[in-house]
């Protein structure tokens, strides 16, 4: 089924990767490395569209169902040991990428494309096996936690047997200690957590099963800058220890602060994947929109061009 190392991929990975050489439509950063000779996560030509009623048709009954494309031909990769940030406007469909990588699909979604994890080609069933274990998701807020269950139990997750339960409990306590959460936090309910505590608990829940890849969807909504940076420091530590992080955010300044590589998301696809250093000098950015992005940074004077916004 999905456990065959793709011939195509193997031959392909046999190329040597230089530090900043252009390969696979992306440039690399210092900390990107190809463990075992391949990308940790690779997505190629992902297309996601939904079957829904045409929103532009004014007559209620004449509206036909059509396939509205949200993501088209998106390709992206994450290396072990790096933070890859996808930057794009809110609500533009970036979260769907996270869902696709986790293998979670809406029932009226049409999804096609290829996903490799750790060099092995995946399908929906194998992604289902991976999620929660090798690929972990860090959600946005406590709204993603069961309001009626104590957080300790939620972080620990579901055990397969008594021994597994023991292991999980130990891991949960170790993680809480590591992130400076008092033991009493275990017995609290989500509504009792402060913003900072919530952030750490959510991260802990992702790390309980020692994943290789973390997908973080807007982990810093509305947080103050220093709280947000602290949130990302923890992700940085995870990456430095050898894991990969796919960070989805709309806040480009934050991404520039903490990521190794940046993917610019616009109009349903990734228009450029590049090392974060490229943003120091706009001439290193290939796509005109990326350069616009650079100019849009307040630090660079809001000097974007004048024409009608897309």
């Amino acid at each position: 089924m999905a456990n065959v190392k793709d011939e195509h991929l193997l031959a392909h990975e046999a190329h040597k990767h230089g530090d900043a050489s252009m390969h696979h439509h992306h440039s690399h950063a210092m900390s990107s490395h190809h463990a075992h000779g391949h990308h940790l996560l690779q997505v190629e030509d992902l297309c996601v569209s939904f079957s829904m009623y045409d929103p532009d048709e004014t007559h209620f009954f004449r509206a036909r169902k059509k396939d509205v494309s949200v993501i088209s031909d998106l390709s992206i990769s994450v290396h072990a040991g790096e933070i890859m940030a996808i930057v794009g406007a809110s609500g533009s469909g970036k979260s769907l990428l996270a869902d696709s990588v986790l293998g979670l699909y809406e029932p009226n979604a049409i999804v096609s494309g290829t996903i490799w994890f750790d060099g092995v080609r995946q399908d929906a069933a194998s992604l289902a096996q991976l999620r929660g274990r090798e690929i972990a998701f860090v959600p946005q807020s406590v709204a993603n936690l069961d309001p009626l269950m104590k957080v300790g139990r939620q972080v620990r997750g579901v055990a397969r047997d008594a021994a597994d339960a023991e292991r999980r409990a130990e891991r949960q306590r170790a993680l809480f200690e590591h992130y400076g959460l008092a033991p009493e936090v275990e017995d609290m309910y989500p509504f009792e957590l402060s913003g900072g505590m919530a952030r750490r608990v959510l991260l802990a829940s992702a790390l309980v099963e020692s994943p290789r890849l973390i997908v973080a969807d807007e982990p810093t909504p509305g947080l103050d800058l220093d709280l947000a940076v602290r949130a990302l420091d923890d992700l940085r530590a995870f990456a430095d220890a050898g894991g990969g992080v796919l960070l989805i955010t709309h806040d480009i300044e934050l991404a520039l602060r903490v990521a190794d590589r940046i993917a610019v998301f616009k109009d349903g696809t990734v228009i450029e994947e590049t090392a974060v250093e490229s943003f120091d000098d706009p001439s290193q950015l290939r796509h005109p929109f990326s350069r616009e992005l650079w100019r849009a940074l307040p630090g660079n004077g809001f000097s974007v061009s004048e024409e009608a916004i897309g």
Binding site: P55, A89, S92, G195, D224, L293, L297, P298, I309
Partner: protein, 206 residues
């Protein structure tokens, strides 16, 4: 009491508490002069949104008052302070089309719409048929079409991508300069504040 002929938006001795008893402000005062662009800074959860709503007349403070040019905020008629909120989907009637929503503000000059990048075909749509960014542009247009003397923007550009954000802020700054309006805004981005604000007000912890 009219305090001379000084033109400003003033919050005098505002006190506000949640109905559970938690006190938010006690005797808070601030002043904004026309043409100023004030950034409101405070730690998370400090109630910046509540303050914005009080300034725009959406909430009544327990004590103190908000004055525009020496007179309190009017109860009827067009309010000289307009609010652009953080969640555009809450600020728009889900059953209205964008056209009728803009009509409520009065005449909306077309430069306003094109300057904010609003496409004409979006005007026929309802709120749930637009993305957050598109909807927010309409909310901004509506606020500006009211020709307010003071604008309060509560993290209003958080949902835009950087390019749109830049264009919108540029447009806003120019509009405020041209019309001599004052601007109060909340933002989490220090770079944005650096670039946009003429003055920063820190709300201390209590």
């Amino acid at each position: 009491m009219r305090k001379g002929m000084q033109k400003m938006l003033e919050a005098k001795d505002i006190s506000f508490a949640y109905s559970g008893g938690r006190v938010l402000y006690d005797g808070l005062s601030l002043q904004i002069a026309p043409g100023e662009r004030i950034a409101l800074c405070a730690p998370s959860g400090f109630g910046k949104t509540t303050l914005c709503r009080i300034l725009a007349g959406y909430l009544k403070p327990a004590a103190g008052s908000v004055m525009v040019d020496g007179s309190p905020l009017p109860l009827r008629g067009m309010c000289p302070v307009q609010l652009i909120g953080q969640h555009p989907e809450n600020m728009v009637d889900p059953r209205q089309t964008m056209d009728s929503m803009l009509a409520e503000a009065g005449d909306t000059p077309s430069e306003l719409l094109s300057g904010l990048g609003i496409r004409p075909e979006w005007r026929r749509r309802h709120a749930h048929e637009l993305s957050g960014g598109e909807l927010q542009r309409f909310c901004i247009a509506r606020a500006l079409a009211c020709a307010p003397r003071y604008l309060v923007a509560d993290e209003s550009t958080a949902m835009f991508d950087a390019v749109t954000q830049a264009r919108v802020w540029r447009f806003l700054m120019r509009w405020c300069e041209k019309n001599g309006a004052g601007l109060v805004f909340v933002s989490h981005s220090p770079e944005l504040i650096d670039h946009v604000a003429t003055r920063t007000i820190m709300l201390g912890a209590r």
